[in-house]
């Protein structure tokens, strides 16, 4: 049971971090389909920096910065130019998918990759610092969102942007900050995937985790604790499917196992369905008066 829980925590980390960022961005009124690409870029940068310097935590840091920069591109188009957020996010995914592929193949070999040091546990149940960071960020995010002035502003920016603007808050500036934070968190999440769970980068290694993170935000009702619960549930399904598969006792073809996390996510969304209400102005550009 304990190994199962530890492994679930490790598996949940990339999705959790991405979703945590998205909670703030979506609460502020921005939907970013580009999480997948941001995670992917984080994963590649972490591997490259860790291999080049032998410092995995430096890899995490640079991954956060580069992914935040890419999120900045999203902000320029989605906030600055007020283009459709879904379209800009999709474009970010194209750029990340192609860009990481081009660079990774140009480099070919990264040399030895130093993975994140294990804090406790071992093998597939190892817990590393980034997972711990993710867990610590939950209460922090909960506090930020519900107990601070900044949190009130973020929540209002997605619900009543006009009112916040009238109170003298620059809504678009606030939204941009949440997007950059999302980028940084996705960068760290990507690092957790490539040098935390694994020890290398492979093309398309995020395999939909960014999209699952978006679903986790909906399922977690746009709040940090809910997101933690949802991310753990989906990670548990993922761990469960890998274990069943390794077990080999159930004679179910492996593609069905691999489809399981996506099918469960869809089912969860369908069950939660009409009961959850997104921020009123989610996805709408805002014109500061």
């Amino acid at each position: 049971m304990i190994p199962f829980l530890l492994q679930t925590l490790t598996f949940a980390t990339p999705v959790l971090l991405a979703a945590l960022g998205a909670v703030f961005a979506e609460r502020a009124g921005v939907v970013n389909i580009g999480l997948e690409g941001l995670l992917l870029v984080g994963a590649l940068v972490a591997v490259l920096v860790s291999a080049a310097t032998g410092q995995p935590y430096l890899g995490v840091l640079v991954a956060a910065l580069v992914a935040a920069a890419l999120a900045g591109v999203f902000a320029v188009f989605a906030i600055g130019m007020k283009r459709d957020q879904v379209i800009v996010g999709t474009t970010i995914n194209f750029l990340a998918l192609g860009g990481t592929g081009v660079f990774y193949r140009a480099i070919k070999s990264t040399g030895e990759v130093k993975t994140l040091p294990v804090l406790f546990g071992d093998g597939s149940t190892a817990i590393h610092g980034v997972t711990l960071l993710g867990l610590l960020l939950i209460p922090l995010a909960q506090w930020l969102l519900y107990r601070t002035r900044l949190g009130v502003m973020v929540r209002s920016a997605g619900e009543k942007p006009q009112a916040v603007a009238a109170a003298g808050v620059f809504v678009n500036r606030l939204r941009t900050v949440t997007i950059l934070a999302t980028g940084a968190l996705c960068g760290i999440g990507g690092a957790a995937l490539s040098i935390g769970i694994g020890n290398t980068f492979t093309e398309e290694m995020t395999s939909g985790r960014g999209f699952i993170a978006l679903a986790v935000v909906v399922f977690g009702r746009w709040n940090p604790l809910g997101v933690l619960t949802a991310a753990l549930l989906f990670a548990a399904a993922d761990v469960w499917q890998t274990r069943l598969q390794a077990d080999g006792k159930l004679h179910i073809p492996y593609p069905i196992f691999l489809a399981l996390p996506y099918v469960l996510t869809l089912l969860a969304l369908a069950i939660r369905g009409a009961k959850v209400k997104p921020p009123a102005h989610l996805g709408e550009p805002f014109e500061q008066g």
Binding site: A106, P253, V263
Partner: protein
């Protein structure tokens, strides 16, 4: 002027990416042109790649026009391929084989898109999420099909049996692989244009896209229009998958798509969601896809095409912004 500035900016950005990957932008451009137009074969290949992009692009464009962010053309394409090869390997009279396979493909795509429609209308699930997630399910579905229910009779490789010859699309250009599916796609682009511009149902689609509340106030059934838009959009992508089976590969393998359904988003957006312009943009991306194989000879991975797609879209977005601001 603004357009030229945007295109120039996009090209500069692209050149920077290629230089960063330690290759020559000019060599990459030359390789692209050679791969897309350099010979009879490469020209035919450009048209061959255009075909699925045009159909999926039409599907995506139709949905977006109705303000439905169907990002699931990839999954709908795959379901079309699965349905087509399943129908095409049944014991049917020879003349029925091709039409039944193509129709089955369209049905498969429509069903997959219909799932997203049902989730949206009945359970309030955003189609952006459901269609994306369904893409991943479809990929695994193909992987399972070619190892299970649809695996070839000899059970040697993870692939399906081959489609019998009467089920295949005839060649269009002797000596090349170009098949009649290309013409079918062109015809459907005109049909899609006529549907949007000339029919009541097409008008309803555009009206709902322009504003669901106003459309409802004008007596248009939003739910019915949403269903129809999803189904038509999915059917076009499904047909693309079926045409790929009946005209190019003749069997299902894993993985099956080259990401046509994702490129379709760029194809549709670059065309500003107009069906007739989609012919032009599909040709553009078709040439890029065909040229991609040659790009490797210039020292860059063929996935540079995805970067090119992204840069193209950013250019279009920046241009639309400049145009709006200029008014």
């Amino acid at each position: 002027m603004k357009l030229i500035a945007c295109i120039f900016g996009g090209l500069l950005l692209l050149a920077a990416v290629i230089l960063a990957a330690k290759a020559s932008p000019l060599a990459v451009a030359a390789a692209l042109a050679r791969g897309a137009f350099g010979s009879k074969d490469s020209l035919a290949n450009t048209l061959l790649q255009t075909t699925p992009l045009l159909l999926t692009g039409l599907g995506v464009g139709l949905a977006f026009k109705g303000k439905l962010f169907n990002i699931g053309a990839e999954g709908q394409f795959l379901l079309g391929a699965v349905f087509a090869i399943w129908a095409g390997t049944q014991k049917l009279p020879a003349p029925l084989l091709l039409p039944v396979a193509l129709a089955a493909g369209a049905l498969g795509g429509a069903l997959w898109a219909g799932l997203a429609a049902a989730l949206k209308l009945w359970r309030g699930v955003q189609e952006v999420l459901s269609t994306l997630l369904l893409n991943f399910v479809a990929i695994q579905l193909v992987a399972w099909m070619v190892r299970g229910p649809l695996q070839e009779a000899v059970k040697q490789y993870p692939q399906s049996d081959k489609l019998a010859i009467p089920g295949r699309l005839a060649f269009l250009w002797p000596g090349t692989q170009l098949h009649q599916g290309f013409l079918l796609a062109l015809v459907l682009a005109v049909v899609a244009w006529a549907y949007l511009a000339k029919t009541a149902s097409g008008f309803a689609l555009r009206a709902v896209g322009a504003g669901a509340e106003a459309a409802a106030a004008a007596g248009i059934s939003v739910a019915k229009t949403t269903w129809l838009t999803f189904l038509l959009s999915g059917a076009l992508s499904g047909l693309a998958g079926a045409i790929q089976i009946c005209g190019v590969t003749y069997f299902l393998a894993d993985p099956y798509s080259k990401g046509y359904g994702y490129t379709a988003i760029a194809v549709a957006l670059l065309a500003n969601l107009s069906p007739l312009w989609t012919i032009v943009t599909a040709l553009f991306f078709g040439a890029l896809t065909a040229g991609a194989t040659e790009v490797q000879s210039a020292g860059v991975s063929s996935v540079v095409i995805q970067v090119l797609q992204a840069v193209t879209l950013f250019t279009v977005l920046a241009y639309s912004w400049l145009k709006e601001r200029g008014k």
